[in-house]
Each structure stands twice: as C-alpha cells, then as structure tokens.
C-alpha cells in the first residue's frame, strides 16, 4: 500500500505525543512499519507541537509539505497553521474547535482570529473538513485531558486507518493505566460517534 501520512497538530500538554504513540503501536501490532517525527522544541506546556506519523514504507521521520493524507488537529489555530502547509489537496482534516489562546492573546497583544477566517484558510486546501468540540466530548467523558482519546476515536471512525478499531482499543488498554480506562474508552467512543454522525450526514 502507499504509506498513510498523518500530521497531528496541537499545543504542548494536550497529549498529542501519546496519541501518536498509540497510533504507531497499533500500526506495529497490525504488522506495518511506522515512523513518528516530533517537533516540540522547548515547550513543556503551551507551545506549538506537531507529530508526523507515516504508516508504511518511508525513511524520513518528517512528512513533506503537501503530502499528509490526514490532519488531526487538536486545537483550531494549530490545525490551520499545520494544515495549510502539510495537508495534501483534498486530504481529510479532523479539527477540534476548542481554542487554546496563547500568551500574546491572553495579554491582549493580538487577537485570536475568528473561525470563518481560520476555516476559510484550511478550505483553500481541502473541502473535507470535519470539525467538532472534542474537548467538550472529553469533558462529557469525565476529563478534558482525554481530548486525545476523542481525537483517536475520530480518526478511527474516519476509516483511513489500515487496521480495525479493536487493534487500537487493545493498544490503548495495554498501554494506559487501568484507572483511566473507562474515561478513555468513553472519550474514544464519543469521538467516534461525532465523526460517524458527520460522515453519515454528508452522505445523505
């Protein structure tokens, strides 16, 4: 198969790294070679972070601009920042609409751009944008920190992964402490349902 290339965009502290590792672990379980490239610089919390995941034959850890099949955006502005560069034409964008305003917005130096402008930019690359408030779903599951699990569920429901849902669920159970399982699985399911619903609506 052609490699599947996924770019995860988010903010330090959102659990993007864990999400990319779970996807990669699942790919290995399903028998694929996999590479993850991380860009996080000096950010412990609050800085822009990005993971590149390539499932299939490839050598470089980084995905070429314009080559990503899927953008998994954990934060609205970060989704656009990375999407305009990395997402291939008519690639799939799964976008968490929850915003994490940076220090320069909080201190009033600049404004957070409005949604129409942001999504408009992304629309110049693709019309396959599925956006939803993943953090609200994580809160519904019991903890906003489970946003990454909502996004994983969303990715799974989008049907792009070359392995079935149960592979990733097993990896999730195997790798994460049991006390978080019920929240994580609930968040995963909520993400899955949210995306499934939008896909069904689009197909109607």
């Amino acid at each position: 198969m052609d490699p599947l290339r996924i770019v995860i965009a988010g903010v330090g502290g959102q659990g993007t790294l864990l999400a990319s590792r779970l996807i990669a672990e699942a790919a290995i379980k399903a028998g694929y070679p996999v590479k993850i490239g991380e860009t996080y610089g000096m950010a412990q919390r609050g800085g822009p972070v990005m993971s590149h995941i390539t499932i299939g034959e490839a050598s470089s850890p980084q995905i070429c601009p314009g080559d990503a099949d899927v953008l998994l955006g954990f934060e609205e502005a970060e989704s656009v920042r990375r999407g305009v560069t990395y997402l291939k034409r008519n690639g799939l964008a799964l976008v968490n609409t929850r915003r994490m305003p940076p220090a320069e917005v909080v201190s009033g130096m600049v404004k957070y751009p409005n949604r129409d402008i942001l999504i408009g930019l992304l629309s110049e690359v693709t019309n396959r944008i599925i956006s939803f408030d993943a953090t609200a779903l994580a809160e519904e599951a019991g903890d906003p920190i489970a946003t990454n699990m909502v996004m994983l569920g969303a990715l799974c429901a989008s049907g792009v992964l070359p392995f079935p849902e149960k592979v990733i669920i097993n990896v999730l159970k195997w790798n994460l402490p049991q006390r978080y399982h019920s929240t994580n699985l609930k968040a995963f399911k909520l993400g899955q349902t949210a995306v499934q619903r939008q896909i069904d609506n689009n197909n109607r």
Partner: protein, 631 residues
C-alpha cells in the same frame, strides 16, 4: 509506556522505540554496567530510560552534577574493565572536554561510549554546534546512526570497537533521530558478569611507569589507523554503485533518509550512486574513494557542518581531481540549519536537471501567517518563576526606580523565558552557570546586575562562580529560582532532591548551606507564591553590600500537578461582579490560565489550566479573584 519493550529479552520482537530509547537499549544489549548523564534536550530520554529500568536490568545509572563528572564516572568504571556509557546534549561535551581529551589519549579498558545529541536548527539550544569536530580534535571515532534500529545496533557495536582499539567511541545523534520513533527489532540482552578490576598496567603510573603511560600520541594515531581500516568494511556503511552513474551522493547519519526518500520521490533510483555513511570519523577513505573515482559530481548531505564534505574535498585530490563537489560549502545546500526531504530533493533535482512538480503553498502560508499568532513560548500556568520574576521586578522598581538600572543575567532553564512579555525581565543568558560569572565582570566595571539562576544549573556550574564572587569581593546579587527539579528537560532530580536517578533516598544538599559555606554575605529563602514576602526579601538583597542571595523556593507547578494525579488542584475563580476589566492580571503577570471574555470585558480563569497557586489573587487590585490558597 515503553519500559516493558526496552527490557524485554525477546530477540526479534518488533517494538516502537524512540531514537534515544534505542540507544539505551543498544547499551543494555551490549551489557553496559555503568551509565551517567546530565539532562539536556535532545539527549535527556537516554538517561530517563536508564533511570526507569536500571534496577530491572541491574545496571548503575546516575544523573551526575554535570557532564564532566558524568564522563569521569563512566571513565572510572571503564578503567576497571566494565562497559560504561555517558550521554549528553552537544554543548554538554564542551563541559566534559577536559577529560574527553585525556580519555582518548590515555585510552580505555572497558568499552566507553559517549553519546552526543546534537541539535541542528537549535530546536532547544543556544547554538547548533557540530560535535564531530570535537571528536576529531580529540581523536575519537564517530558513528552516526540513521534510524532508531541503527542507533541500537551502532551503540552496541561502539562498545566492541571501543574495547578493541581502547578508545572512547562517540555515537552522534541529532534531534530528529533522538526524537524519532519507529519499529525496532530487538536483539539479545547480554548480561555482563565481568568482575571489576583496575587495569594497573593500563593506567597506573606506579605500576606501568610514567614514560609508558604519559606520552601516547603516536599510539593514538596508530589506533585511529586501525579504526579507519575497520570502517572500510563496516556493514553499517552501504555503497550503492553500478558504475555508470554521473551523480554520487554521500548521506551521513540521519540525513541519509532524506537522500533515500528524495531519490525515490524523483524516480531517479537508477541515475544516482550513493553511500550511506555511518562512520564519519575517521573517514573510510577507500570506500568513499570508490564512489569518488566513478562519478563526475558528488553531493554530500550531512547535519550540520560540512564535516565529511571538507574531508571529501581533500580526498578528491587523490581519487578524482576533476570531481565537482556539492554540499554545504558551495551553497548547493544551506550553510546552516537542519536539512529535510525538500531541501535535499531540490538539490538532487537541480543537479540531475529533473523537473519536480510540487504545488506551492507559499501564498496561502503567507496569508495564514498574517492572521495567526506565533504562540510564543511562555512559562507554564502557575510557574513559580513567573511569581519570582514579578516580585523581583517590583523590588527593583522600588529600590532603584528604573527597571533598566540593572542588567538581569539569566541562565539555562525554563526561566530563560523570563525575557518574554508581559514579564520581560531578563536580559542575557549564555551557558550553564554564566549568570553568576558575567555579573561579576559587570559589577567590577560599575554596572549593576542581578544573576538569575535555577537550582539544577546552580549545582551544575554555579558554585565555582559563586566562590569567585566571595573570594574576589564582587558586589553581586544572586537569585536562585529553585523549583526543586530540572524541569525543562523532564523533571529530573538533582542534589537537593533527596533521591537519586534510581529512586534511592539520599542526603539533600541545600543551596543555602552551600552559599553560607562559600561565605555569601546575605542568604535567605522565600516562597515566591507569597508575593509580598518575596518582594521584601529581594529588597533586602538589593540593599545589601557584598554578595547577597535570595533562594525563591517552590516546586515546579507542572511537577506538583503531575505528582498529585489523578487529583487536580482546586482552580481559582474570577468574581465577575468585582472584575472591572482592567486586565492588570494579564498585562503585568500573564499566567496562561487567565483568559479574557471579550463580550463581557472580564477576565476568567481556565479551570483546566489553573494550577491553584493563588498568585493572581494577590495581584488583582479589585480583589476579584477568589479561591483557597494552597499551602
């Protein structure tokens, strides 16, 4: 998550490993006995991995006080015949340089492997220094892995080579490899049951005699010749050459991946010859020569300086004087910064005259940049350094009037972000410990300054500078921003933590005790979460003649929250009836947990981000922020 994978003695098993984890695994497979390190991005996870699994695989690991000490610990074990490894970020090797040089000159006994994690493009460093020069300067062989699998294998091989020629061997990684993850096939773990025994004949002047051990330059050069010979047939070097190619490419270490992907993407697999180079020093001259004498043009692809390229330029004189050489020196590739598939692909397509069609997004990216913020780096929500800097700024304003009446010399750590708005109260930072040193030169020539240094950094390189200040009667003020962990690199412990890297309880060495023992004139410890008290302490410090120090002690907020999981701190709240929308909390303090509701013109605290420190409550002039203060 990966600790199970890393310790599994299950040869052939495929697991997901980070480059740095693969290096640690390679050392374990080679039966390493002693590992030492000082944390620094992008090397930290090598030590973090050892720290997690040391007990389980029965090796000794420590976070040493600095890289020189770490090196010496490893060297000590090596002289007693055991395999040892020392890992650090590139600039850490500058600190260890003194002993590095002598370890290569005098030689080793047990395999001694140095891991240098370089940082092209300065993702988390002040410079992009290429440590292959330091290795060459000190006659240390360099292995450069391309993938996590190579990183594991080459680390294991480095121990063998080191023992064979009795030289330390460097495994040189770069950020993109250290932080890359991929499927790695595990090998067998070989447990060393060797008994430690000092090599008297190899290292003792008393036994072997001074003359035999002291002058060894000739022997060292002979060793390097042996290594070069071995590298000529090293299986990790791979030459693809049909004989009819016009263009050859040398790809060293990680950057070889860019060559492979670019060649595949351009569909020119049959038009180029290439060499995957995993041993960049000493260069296997005959192997490289075979490529040189066949092709008309050669592109050298490497991170980050033209290290191999320069050597190849010399070699071409013997092998192919009419060779056209391309790389970082002639501007075919950029002279600085890390490479990627696109840069390398463009260079290859130019050289071959192949047209590549790539959709340009430059216009769209420019449009996006115009509306998007940069998301500047900032101290975390609840960070005690923010409170420390805020209180210090208030004290300077009160005592000196003008904030520009002092130069704030920062140091290496999270608090380096103190220059960023809205706190904006840090001027310089250079290398570990430099804050205390440079402040003395400023004070000597009559310029007021404050040295602002973290706890880990103080132990690493601050102490000799502090003693110098007292000894040479420099009138300096030192703030130790003590958040009780080495936070920036991943919350590693240090000599004041009371526990070792392997989790054993140990003595706490207190910074105030050291300061007092050094003869510092005025030392006090405050909690920066109590802004008023902190400001008073800083005021006393500023008014003291002589060497004065305030230790602002409060655990890193992120570490505090990590250790209370799954519980969360109780967030503070803004009372909307009292908030007048003055934004003082945001424009003077700027905690990321504070946000602004534009419709209501009021501040609000993000309950997911709030660490419950209560400092903003002390800043709000309207007393609109409420909560239960943490103790």
């Amino acid at each position: 998550m990966s600790s199970l994978s890393i310790t599994a003695n299950d040869p052939g098993k495929i697991v997901l490993l980070m480059g740095n984890e693969a290096i640690a695994r390679g050392a374990i497979e080679a039966g390493v006995s002693v590992a030492a390190s000082y944390p620094g991005t992008p090397a930290s996870e090598i030590g973090d991995t050892f720290s997690r699994i040391a007990d389980k695989v029965r090796l000794y690991f420590e976070w040493s006080t600095n890289e020189k000490v770490a090196f010496e610990v490893a060297f000590g074990a090596s002289m007693c015949g055991l395999r040892s490894i020392v890992s650090m970020k590139h600039v850490g090797l500058n600190v260890a340089l003194d002993i590095l040089n002598l370890a290569s000159l005098r030689g080793v006994k047990g395999g001694l492997v140095i891991v240098s994690a370089d940082d092209p493009s300065q993702h988390s460093s002040g410079q992009e220094q290429d440590n292959r020069w330091l290795a060459k300067m000190n006659c240390i062989p360099v292995l450069e892995p391309s993938t996590p699998q190579d990183a594991k294998e080459l680390t294991a091989y480095a121990f063998e080579l080191s023992e064979k020629v009795r030289l330390p061997v460097m495994v040189r990684t770069v950020t993109r490899l250290s932080h890359m993850r991929s499927d790695v096939s595990l090998g067998r773990i070989n447990k060393s049951d060797k008994k430690a025994e000092f090599d008297w004949e190899g290292f003792s002047y008393r036994v072997a005699g001074f003359a035999k051990l002291f002058y060894r330059e000739k022997e060292l050069n002979e060793k390097l010749d042996l290594v070069r010979e071995e590298f000529e047939s090293l299986s990790f070097n791979m030459l693809k050459l049909n004989g009819d190619e016009r263009l050859g490419i040398v790809g060293a270490g990680l950057s070889f991946n860019y060559v492979v992907d670019a060649v595949r993407r351009l569909g020119v697999e049959n038009n180029v010859a290439y060499l995957k180079l995993s041993s960049s020093y000493p260069l296997p001259e005959n192997l490289v020569g075979r490529l040189l004498e066949t092709v008309d043009e050669l592109l050298v692809v490497e991170e980050v300086d033209p290290f191999v390229e320069l050597h190849v330029k010399g070699l071409a004189k013997d092998f192919n004087p009419s060779l056209k050489l391309y790389g970082r020196m002639n501007g075919c590739l950029p002279k600085e910064g890390e490479l990627n598939q696109i840069i390398v692909g463009d260079a290859i397509s130019n050289l071959l005259g192949v047209d590549i069609r790539r959709e340009s997004r430059l216009v769209l990216e420019k449009k996006a940049r115009e509306v998007l913020f940069e998301r500047m780096l900032t101290l975390c929500a609840g960070c005690p350094h923010r409170a420390t800097l805020y209180a210090l700024k208030e004290a300077v304003r009160e005592v000196k009037g003008d904030l520009k009446s002092v130069v704030v010399n920062g140091d290496i750590g999270c608090y380096g972000l103190g220059h960023a708005p809205p706190i904006s109260f840090e001027d310089t930072y250079f290398c570990m410990g430099a804050s205390i040193g440079v402040s003395q030169g400023m004070s000597q020539v009559g310029v007021d300054s404050i040295a602002f240094i973290g706890d880990g950094t103080f132990f690493h390189a601050g102490i000799p500078a502090l003693i110098n200040a007292v000894y040479n009667r420099h009138n300096i003020k030192v703030v130790v921003a003590d958040n009780q962990v080495i936070a920036m690199t991943g919350f590693q412990p240090h000599p004041q933590s009371g526990r070792t890297a392997m989790g054993k309880p140990t003595k706490r060495i207190m910074i105030e005790d050291i300061a007092k023992a050094c003869g510092v004139d005025h030392v006090e410890v405050v909690d920066p979460y109590s802004l008023g008290k902190a400001k008073e302490a800083f005021t006393r410090m500023l008014k003291t003649e002589g060497v004065a120090m305030v230790i602002a002690r409060r655990i890193c907020a992120t570490e505090a929250v990590r250790s209370m999981r799954p519980n969360r701190p109780t967030p503070y709240v803004v009372d909307p009836d009292l908030c007048i929308g003055c934004r003082i909390c945001m424009t003077t303090f700027g905690c990321p947990a504070l946000t602004w509701i534009d419709d209501e013109k009021k501040a609000v605290i993000d309950k997911a981000l709030c660490m419950g420190c209560g400092v903003c409550m002390q800043i709000c002039p309207q007393e609109a922020i409420k909560g239960s203060k943490v103790s």
